[in-house]
Amino acid sequence: MSILVYALHYEGEFNKNSLGAVSEGAKLAKELGGDAAAVVVGGDDLTDELCGTLGKYGVAKVYRVKGPEGLAQPVVDAMAKVISDNGFKYALFGGGLLGFEIGAGLTARLDAGVTMEVTAVRAQDGKLVAERPILQDSQVVDVGYVGEPGIIIGRLNAFDAVESGDGAAAVEDVDVAFEDHSTKATMVQRGEQRGADVNIEDADVLVAGGRGLGNAEGFELCESLADALGGAVAATRAVVDAGWYPYAAQIGQTGKTVAPKLYVAAGISGAIQHKVGMQSSENIVAINKDPNAPIFEFSDLGIVGDLNKIMPKLTEAVKAKKG
């Protein structure tokens, strides 16, 4: 067997991140001429049916282990057993907190090589090579593995979920004797939502506002658009300084660093202090009335125009499209 993929479920669903990892694992296993399987750890909500759905994403088999949810170390025990029992060559994770914790724990347990924040993986000469960005995404490193297994932890949402059209996966229950230390952490409360503080670092879509908004009220335009796109609002240093938006939303050299799928920059000039905080965003859309604004040099789509005219219309159009 080639690749074992960890799939995280939460509230009866496998998250997008996990489905992406499973798809990627299946794809890579094919390229290696081998097989991929998934492993899940949890309680009774891991029904045969739910586990079977992973088959749609390309794995024929799902190893299911009964254990506590939301804690990494029991999963380390589970995966270590499944990997050694079945000779998996690689363990693949879709990032996220547990992905990192489990992958790191496995590194120690199996004396394995690990690459973190991976953005792409490819098969080369019968082995996998992981690519990861470094130095604020200014360079990409190709990492190979010495010995087996190799552990690959992707950047959150780096892998796309792709339905392969296969049928339900077979579920195999595995009995795992947990290590002593794996039982020393107990979940008291899981997944509490704390509405107000949206963590912009985890958002898939960000609408950021800069001085071009004109005043604090301009952020209403950002909030409406963010709402329509299903994202969060961010801000530049200048406007946070001016008190138009809170520091928690600040992006840049002295604020947060983000890499969402979509970054809309409204009224932002694109000075380097801001750029370093968002340059790894997958898709950058900039709206600015100054055609010479530096942001147009690194945006994927740049609109030279009045954001007060464009944003409200864009918000309406997006809402209409999404239905």
Partner: protein, 579 residues
Amino acid sequence: MSTAPIEFPPPVDSAKEFVGAPTDPEDERIEVGVVIVGGGPAGLACAIRLTQLLAEDEALMESLGEVPVAVVEKGKGPGSHLLSGAMMNPSAMRKLFPGLDESEWPTYGPVPRDAVYLLPNSKRAIPLKPTPPPFRNHGNHVTSVAQLGRWLSDQAEEGGVYILGETAATKLLVEDGQVVGVRSGDKGRGRDGQELSNFEPGSDLIAKATVLAEGTQGHLTGAAIRHFDLGSEDPQQWELGVKEVWEVEKPLDRVIHTMAWPLRYGAKYQEFGGSFIYPMGEDRVSMGLVCGLDYRDATFSVHDALQELKTHPLVAEIIEGGKRIGWGAKTIPSGGYWAQPRRMWAPGLVIAGDGAGMVNIPTLKGVHYAMHAGMFAAEAIVERLKAGETGVADLSSYQAKVDNSEIEKDIRRSRNMRQPFSKGFLVGGAIANMMEISGGRFPGGRWKTHDDATIDVFIGDRDKDYPKPDGKTTFDKLSSVFASGNATRDDAPNHIRIQERVPLEIALMWQNMCPAAVYEVPEDELEAARADGNGKLDGKHEVKLQITPSNCVQCGAITAKGGRLTPPEGGDGPNYQVT
């Protein structure tokens, strides 16, 4: 009606605010032997010399307690705030490290050739042969003072000196007319000065002797000069230097100085200065533009004129295919001999280096003078400490050593060379030549200096010629601030004392002068000024400045031109590596 910045003085009273008695309870004060404010060439040379002398006198070393020598440095560490050209005269290094082979120095060694060019315009370069005397640098070492500072700091630490980085000295401690130490700055204050959750107050550092080696526009130096009335009747004058360090493909084989373009020497503009381009080894080049701060056009910007300079074929050729790896800015005292403090010492205190105006402007030399002065300071202090407890109340021997040395001989020689240039380049140049030839004796006399803040400004149109930044060869100010390693927290308290409502002329002058884009005239204020002037900018229209103090690289220009730079939180500001 003239508008000069001096009519809008900053809200500060330095003698009152920055000089006072210790305030910490006695058992909380920190005692050291000698405290040196400033981890630059002067301060570190002083520290090293002190440890050399103390190594020969155990009893004296013991009497100085657990921490015989402490250097207080407001940057992250010595070197972070150091910037110069520089072509360093090797005499001071030889004196401080007599047994050390020059190949072990953290410098780039001497350069065999030098060249001076007069640039009449953006395309031509006229070589001046033979090289005018002030520009001859035979035997001098190309040096990055940021690297030198780090190396000297390592040497000092090995000798037992306590290097206290990220520590600003904000107050001079004086008791019964004698300097007894310095107070370090608070940390953890917010934008409005309020105490944040991790607020840490400064401490009183009590020392038997205090050395102020703060460099240009030294904060405590200014306060000490006022408090003890040490100043000259001639005000100090300043130049602003903005420089870059480049990785280059072709090694540069000569030290280059240029004059004229892009500066305008005429009396209308008064942009006195020039540029330097020094090879740093085989693959790097240090280049900068220096201009007196008594220029008159409010739209003149040294930072942007430097970008323009890089488009001249002479310079473009040197940096072709290269990459900018460093940037910074700093002021240089240029008033020379007459503007130096009359006295460079007070009871318990000496002032060394740029802070005491020890810069020879025509030859652009100051690093070795600073180091010599630091060594004299160490020697004088040790002599006076040995003379008994009250010995350091009289440090006049320091002054004597400085006066009888190369420092004052050289600086006195060029005592009138800078002033004539206010009469324009040609007249000024002719006069300067006469002085050079006559060894400073002719035309003699005492040419008065002037305070840079007394210069009227007008709004010209210099900005139409600045190149649009392309991010490869030419850069905007924010990119430059980034390249200086400045990552100061945004809610840091505003450390700049300045009047925020001033006529547009002054505001624009500050906006363009500042190499770090700290001062900005907001768009809407510009619009209002335009409306007031019927389509043209009305220079007298009052505007409110927008200030971004976290950009500040502490060059000191604002202090020369109507504001006052006070030390920000220790550790803030640039982190120069190769300047």
